[in-house]
Amino acid sequence: MMQEQLEKIQYTLDDFNLLEKRVRDNIAKADEYKQLDKYLSSVTGEEDSYILNKMKESGILTYNEYVLERNKNKVDGNITGTVLGVIAALKRLLTNNLF
């Protein structure tokens, strides 16, 4: 059920802008990262979770752990940069500004 909900989720440009601010201000929740990752997978058609994989490269195994680490002010430039890059790419896809 949850899986279906995640796959059905659609983002607008405003949603992405809001999410970008939430990520920058470190108030985004684990579910938001998860939803974004799922949405990205549905867009790229790959089964791998791109953001989660980047987290694992930095030794963080779950979205919740990442939120916990960020709340301790340990900002990981690698993961945060990736999330912001994902949002930027998806925004470009929405605005048909891909190439």
Partner: protein, 151 residues
């Protein structure tokens, strides 16, 4: 600073020569001359000797007076130079300690600022890299949907 010290040192040597060595030579010369003239029975010579003695005494007094002025000058000059040296040394050591203290106090602030800048740059770099990677994936998928091979 070294230039001033050099000038002061040279002046000291010159004044010491004037004050101790030169007067002795002059006095010896006059004394020999006066001793020989004093034994003369000629009244005129005796008068001249008396005049010379007075002139010599006056000159000696002038010399002593001048030497004392120079001594004062050297004394006060020395005091001023010493004070300047002390002030320079104090300023140097005070500045050094202040800089070290300030550095110790502010080190972690600056370290944090540098670290924040590094994180920002890291975020930007990774954002660009992620964007490029995702665009490539989306491009690949779009092309495969259209039945074309990605270049």
């Amino acid at each position: 600073m070294w230039f001033l010290l050099g000038i002061t040192f040279t002046l000291c040597i010159f004044l010491a020569y004037r004050a101790y060595i030169l007067p002795e030579q002059q006095i010896n010369f006059y004394q020999t001359f006066l001793d020989s003239a004093n034994t003369s029975k000629n009244l005129l010579i005796k008068e001249r000797v008396a005049d010379i003695k007075i002139a010599t005494a006056t000159t000696e007094e002038k010399l002593l007076s001048t030497n004392k002025r120079f001594d004062d000058f050297i004394l006060f000059g020395g005091i001023i130079v010493t004070l300047l040296l002390v002030i320079s040394a104090t300023v140097y050591f005070k500045t050094e300690s202040e800089v070290a203290k300030n550095f110790d106090e502010k080190f972690w602030d600056y370290e944090k600022k540098v670290q924040d800048s590094v994180t920002k740059v890291e975020i930007l770099l990774n954002s660009v890299a992620a964007q490029a990677e995702i665009m490539q994936k989306i491009n690949k998928r779009l092309l495969s949907n259209q039945g074309r091979t990605p270049t």
